[in-house]
Symmetry: C2
Subunit: 156 residues, 2 copies
Amino acid sequence: MPRPRQLPDRAELRAWRDFIETTEALRTVLAGRLQSDTGLSPGDYAVLLALSEAGPGRMRSSELAAQVGWERSRLSHHLGRMERRHLIRREKAAADSRGAEIILAPAGWTAFREATAPHLRAVRELFVDALTPAQVEAAADIAAALREHLERLGHR
Amino acid sequence: MPRPRQLPDRAELRAWRDFIETTEALRTVLAGRLQSDTGLSPGDYAVLLALSEAGPGRMRSSELAAQVGWERSRLSHHLGRMERRHLIRREKAAADSRGAEIILAPAGWTAFREATAPHLRAVRELFVDALTPAQVEAAADIAAALREHLERLGHR
DNA sequence: CCAGTATGATTGACACATCAAACACAGGAG
DNA sequence: CTCCTGTGTTTGATGTGTCAATCATACTGG
């Protein structure tokens, strides 16, 4: 009795490679634009976005981690670099003094404000303009299906 | 006279975020599997694949760089790490002694051979099985459109 | 009150990526 | 032969990501 096929066929493999390599290239190009337009990395942008969306521009570190979907360690390293550049500050949380409050510094507000438009323009130019409206929808569906599948598989 | 719309609308932006974040997550999960199944990173795998496809398992460094689509500097750093683990060796090129020949070492052959099946299984499980056949095709089309657009835009 | 454990966050070590600078040899003009 | 320039590759500096270990404070059962 034959086991179910386990390996992708030639066409599926080609689709996979094209897909993964292209999205990788897209990420790289977009990151390069953001960097040269604004001096921010995608990580910087994600952090600033999350902070700016929290009304007062301040947030608990773990909340921020959840918001951007990063591990705490990664966030902590990244915040260290951002703090060096005075984009954010850290304070002990008043409520729970184990915790840290991350505060969007003035330079951070400015950088974020000036980055938004160029970033969105680049998204439009590199992603939206490359695809038909139907393809944009299809991309969203594919992403949803992949994510759902990933989550169903759990973490192994 | 109104300029063309420059920024993505809400739905487009959501599609973009879902798309880019999901592909990123997919990459990460796949890399994790490869790592834990075989001890190789995606970069290692790409290099070993390219070398193994060159009949004798040896290739000029710049040819290898072109094959995997990396900058030379990146390749050089990566080869340094792979050499430390005895997956490859480097020799001066006979023809042009500026150049380096990269040689797939025995441990490299073995690692690659043992990595292939698990890797392909993971691709099937995480990508192909998550999508309908039509979606796999759509993904390939989207990748093609994105890549073509990227290339048309050139490098800025 | 006070172990013991749980939780929020940071640290250190290392792999990976990118940029610019350096290095080493090749090949041609004089 | 010697300088000059170009090409193939490496190196160093720095930013980014992951894992495991650590640190500090909070909480809980006795």
